[in-house]
Amino acid sequence: MAAAAAAEMEKMSVEQVKAVKEQADMEVNILQDSLNNIRTATSRLEVASSALEDLSLRPKGKKLLVPLTASLYVPGTLDDADKVLVDVGTGYFIEKTTAEGKDYCDRKINLLRSNFDQLVEVAAKKKSIADEAAVILQAKLKHLAPAT
């Protein structure tokens, strides 16, 4: 596929190849941003999952400190560590057991991982097109320069 694209670009003028390269570069940047977002979301889910794991080990009635603001913590006791509220999106929260909560986190992490892999493939293809365009642009410019 890259070879066919390269053949196409050979026929185009310098202006057009430049436009193709800039378009491809922009797309690669957007894809990289998306990849970063997925990585952040995945790590947040992993933190949530390990927090759940930790919570399930704590006995009921255990003393803890509850954050009210970023700098204010209030002492409290752990009530029921078996039920957790899961934010599933669009303002809906579902009450689940700790095990179900962990299951939810794992499911989401897997979904994100597969999305990530798909995106990486697309990004790689776009990057190779962008690189091809850059190479052809260079060649064309060098070809023009000695002629003038």
């Binding site: 999106g89 669009t90 809906y92 579902i94």
Partner: protein, 130 residues
């Protein structure tokens, strides 16, 4: 009509058309933005629906309304999410039709402008020779 008056009229027409064209392009860009927003919302709602579907009948569902977490009936929550999905899909279809319409108008504007430009150029060439 002298050829310079004709020329000026053509150029004014060209300017008017180019203003129309840039407005069309702005409308198309706005359409893309709204479409993106709706597509994201649709995806999120479908995820929620999937989660609700695998719940037991007696599981508790809460909705965040402002600062208040309100207990909801599972059936009601299901119905709400489904309705939202329907609404968003209808909006997206409407936007698609809109976009097609705008793009057609944009293309015909571009063609008209191109033809105008040709006429202008040939007139200017004719004047230069004379």
């Amino acid at each position: 009509m002298s050829s310079s008056t004709v020329l000026r009229e053509l150029q004014r027409d060209f300017e008017a058309k180019s203003n129309d064209l840039s407005k069309l392009q702005k409308d198309i860009a706005k359409n893309h933005q709204v479409r993106k927003k709706y597509t994201i919302q649709l995806g999120e709602n479908e995820l929620v629906l999937k989660e609700l579907d695998i719940l037991n009948e007696d599981a508790n569902v809460y909705k965040l309304i402002g600062p208040v977490l309100v207990k909801q009936d599972l059936a009601e929550a299901n119905a709400n999410v489904r309705k939202r999905i329907e609404y968003i899909s209808a909006e997206l279809k409407r936007l698609d039709g809109n976009l097609q319409d705008l793009e057609e108008k944009q293309n015909s504007k571009k063609e008209a402008m191109f033809k105008l430009q040709e006429r202008i150029q040939s007139l200017q060439a004719g004047k230069a020779k004379a």
